[in-house]
């Protein structure tokens, strides 16, 4: 069996699943908010790159939009199929389970990247590009952060969604509590924080922060790759053992 073809076909169906009309409207609305804020900064004639990146990129994109979008798509890739019971059509096929996981992860991460990168890119163009080469570097840095973060969040919570139906709430809790509340108290959490991986990789383009606890680009990239690989392996392992909910459900 040509697994590549299977990945393509499953990804195609998953994309149509993830991009239903209502949810697309909701998410596009969400991703427009920071762009509007960037426009407000521009209108106010704000030139302080540091302040803009802290409020809009760190505060809105990295802390909120990126995890929300990527967790939603990550948990939704399998979540909707499990809830509706359509996952049985994927499971009852002679395809390696890893191919199913790869197809789902590719589509979830792909959609998340498309949305966050487009939104962050636009914000950067509006506010930062006029600020010269530093602004350009910051924009590229944060676009990279969006891409890395999308892949990490999406695959991690895709794997989790095969274990519990409340993966989305856990993802939101992770983002609010672990990355939001605790990581400022316990700097060691940086090693276990997707937010720090994203920012660390982005640091390759520009020195963004003065925070000593942050990760170097190479460490961040290594940790991100390990996370994605482990999540994919665990997801494939779990899918092999996946038991369909009974008919009473």
């Amino acid at each position: 069996m040509n697994s590549v073809a299977a990945v393509r076909d499953i990804a195609g169906v998953t994309l149509r699943q993830l991009l239903g009309r209502r949810r697309t409207v909701l998410l596009v609305l969400l991703s427009v908010v920071p762009i509007l804020l960037a426009a407000a900064f521009r209108a106010a004639g704000e030139t302080d790159i540091e302040r803009f990146t802290r409020i809009v990129f760190d505060g809105l994109y990295v802390a909120i939009l990126l995890p929300l979008v990527a967790v939603l798509f990550g948990t939704g890739a399998f979540g909707a199929e499990i809830e509706d019971g359509t996952i049985v059509y994927l499971l009852a096929k002679p395809i390696p389970r890893a191919a199913v996981v790869i197809a789902k992860a590719l589509s979830a991460a792909g959609v998340a990247i498309a949305l966050t990168v487009a939104s962050a890119g636009l914000s950067g163009v509006i506010e930062l590009l006029p600020a010269g080469s530093d602004g350009q570097a910051a924009t590229f840095g944060y676009i990279t952060a969006m891409a890395v973060g999308s892949v990490c969040y999406a695959t991690l919570f895709l794997a989790l969604s095969l274990f519990t139906r409340r993966a989305l709430v856990i993802g939101i809790g992770y983002m609010l509590v672990w990355e939001g509340g605790l990581s400022s108290l316990l700097p060691g959490i940086a090693n276990l924080s997707i937010r720090q991986y994203s920012l660390g990789v982005a640091d390759a383009f520009i020195q963004l922060h003065q925070d000593p606890a942050r990760l170097t680009p190479s460490t961040a990239m290594t940790l991100a790759v390990i996370l994605v690989v482990v999540a994919m392996v665990v997801a494939s392992w779990r899918l092999m053992r996946f038991e369909l909910p009974g008919s009473s459900d």
């Binding site: 069996m1 040509n2 073809a5 299977a6 076909d9 499953i10 169906v13 149509r16 699943q17 239903g20 509706d84 019971g85 359509t86 049985v88 059509y89 994927l90 499971l91 009852a92 096929k93 002679p94 395809i95 390696p96 389970r97 092999m240 053992r241 996946f242 038991e243 369909l244 009974g246 008919s247 009473s248």
Partner: protein, 317 residues
């Protein structure tokens, strides 16, 4: 004979398409399937039982989605659990209705064909679609389908790769009688072509139409297996209990006892319980007997008409 007793199978017979040996499955301390053994070869077999009897669990074990907690399950000579390659030979129609609502019927069937790795997925899909008679609606989104159409789309998706073994969980749900007949014909044709087909149902009449081998499950156990008509006869020969209330139960009881069709009469709680072998004979008898005895009938109720009581009878027997 497609339903055979495992123990009585002669030595090196060709491996049956489906074989369970003392298979059991429990969830926590709930036993869903309890020590079931049977073997099936080509043909259509009905898996009957009331709701909650363990039919879906059994089919899920056959489809490799559940490992048996004890015993063995083999499909085409191997264990289907954690072996995706077995699906090349298995087609599965799940019980749940959901199908990707945004795909058209044709797209859905082709999706299945492609994931089965078929070289000419389009041609195979067209064939499967016309087998289930969905040609007219093939290019409409499944979200707009009626229950019966969705059910047929699912069947088309399951048989598009012409599997050796076809497992169908409640396939006739939501179909109208005409669609049911057509589907049963289709299953019959596939069986004649040497396929092994196992479908589940909780409605006796559905199976009656196909008139073939059945397995009856009750409370997770295999209660009966064999030719449908033989089992049906066994079920109908059992004594029926009829509850009667009348203006004078005692007098009516005496009158009824005189007739050989009545096995036993019991006066209890202000009503009369009568056991008889043949319902239809008794129905004719009661009218005459009551009139002759001058007794006015208040209520005549059959105490055990439901399918559950039929199954129940099979288990207790």
């Amino acid at each position: 004979m497609t339903v055979q007793n495992v123990e009585s199978m002669p030595g090196p017979a060709p491996a049956p398409a489906i074989e369970l040996v003392n298979a059991a499955r429990w969830y926590g301390n709930v036993v869903a399937v309890n020590d079931v053994s049977f073997a099936l070869g080509p043909g259509v077999t009905g898996l009957l039982g009331p709701n909650g009897a363990g039919k879906t669990t059994l089919l899920h074990m056959l489809a490799g989605f559940l490992a048996p907690s004890a015993g063995t399950v083999h499909v085409l000579g191997r264990s289907p659990h954690r072996d995706p390659s077995v699906y090349r030979q298995i087609g599965l129609v799940p019980e749940r209705e959901a199908v990707y609502p945004f795909l058209t019927g044709f797209e859905y069937v082709r999706f299945n064909a492609r994931l089965q790795g078929m070289a000419d997925a389009d041609a195979a899909s067209r064939r499967a679609i016309s087998l289930v008679g969905l040609d007219d609606a093939a290019h409409r989104a499944i979200g707009t389908y009626s229950k019966g159409m969705r059910q047929r789309a699912k069947v088309a998706g399951a048989l598009v790769h012409d599997p050796q073994v076809l497992l169908l969980d409640e396939p006739f749900n939501g179909m109208d009688p005409r669609q049911r007949l057509a589907m049963m014909d289709l299953l019959g044709q596939m069986a004649e072509a040497g396929r092994t087909i196992l479908f589940s149902s909780h409605i006796l009449e559905e199976v009656e139409r196909i008139g073939t081998e059945i397995l009856v499950m009750v409370s997770g156990r295999l209660a009966a297996s064999g030719d449908f008509r033989a089992i049906r006869a066994l079920m109908t020969d059992r004594p029926h209990t009829i509850k009667i209330r009348s203006s004078d139960d005692r007098r009516l009881a005496t009158a009824l006892m005189a007739d050989p069709a009545v096995f036993a009469v019991e006066l209890k709680d202000g009503s009369l319980a009568v056991q008889t072998a043949h319902l239809s004979t008794f129905r004719r008898l009661i009218a005459g007997a009551s009139r002759a005895a001058g007794v006015r009938l208040v209520e005549v109720v059959s105490a055990d008409e439901s399918l559950e009581s039929v199954f129940d009878y099979l288990v207790r027997r």
